[in-house]
Amino acid sequence: MLVLTRKKGESLVIGENIHLKIADVQGDTVRLAIEAPRSVSIWRQELWESIVQENKEALGGADPATVRLLFQKHKPESRK
């Protein structure tokens, strides 16, 4: 892991085309301005972690045979 110190107004260049600027610092809050190609998605860490968690739980859920059997009688009415 690389650890750097930057002041307000200073920037980083990541790879060829990701620019990260420290736009503002107020107390313990930092505002970051990021320029990156559309192909690069940027997530708040905690949000990324929750989605990873949800996806993994979905993977570990009931299998198709169980689902098919139990829901032969019940399907949510197309509620349109």
Binding site: R38, S39, S41, W43, L47, W48, S50, I51, V52, Q53, E54, N55, K56, E57, A58, L59, G61, A62, D63, P64, T66, V67, R68, L70, F71, H74, K75, P76, S78, R79, K80
Partner: protein, 179 residues
């Protein structure tokens, strides 16, 4: 035509044109860049099956089944990434979590839908900017869940014909097997 050996569906055959292309994978599965949709036509639960990892498949459904008023909020950058000209080019699925012991309690992740572009077949799981993100929205309304739970209990409590004595023994620990 290609095929993949899967843990849930056995051998699945598919054409390249059926592939869904996820350049970044999805969170937790960033190595899985190619998927197909498996499952029965008429069933409301389909499965996003990885064609690179046979044991990776996620249950998915249409967000409207869960919330008829579901509205996808998506940024222009995301439309550009997917190669979509407009929202009409998009097809949306939500990942469903199905607790094995209580499948009626299944929940859908409306906060992070899987968005696909029908023209390019590119996809990405995005965060739909809702004020209160709903990661676990019940698929079935409460009355239905209660009814299904009861139906399931009736099936489990009736002891199977082979082991009636053992069930009685467990329910009344003070009674001996001859009681």
């Amino acid at each position: 035509m290609a095929h993949i050996e899967t843990s849930r569906f056995g051998k699945l055959e598919y054409y390249d044109k059926d592939l869904l292309l996820f350049p970044e994978g999805i969170p937790g599965f960033t190595q899985c860049t190619k998927w197909i949709i498996a499952g029965e036509e008429s069933h409301f639960i389909k499965w996003m099956q990885s064609v690179e990892y046979g044991d990776v498949a996620l249950p998915v459904t249409s967000p409207e089944f869960v919330d008829p008023k579901f509205h996808l909020k998506i940024h222009q950058e995301e439309l550009d990434f997917l190669g979509a000209q407009e929202k009409g080019d998009l097809f949306v699925l939500v990942v469903v979590r199905i607790p094995p012991e209580m499948p009626w309690e299944m929940t859908a992740n409306l906060a992070a839908p899987v968005v696909l572009c029908t023209t390019t077949r590119k996809g990405r799981q995005i965060v739909s900017s809702e004020d209160q993100p709903r990661f676990r929205e019940y698929v079935f309304p409460e009355e239905t869940r209660i009814a299904m739970a009861e139906e399931y209990q009736k099936v489990s409590v009736n002891p199977s014909p082979e082991y009636p004595e053992e069930t009685l023994w467990e329910e009344n620990p003070h009674a001996g097997p001859d009681a």
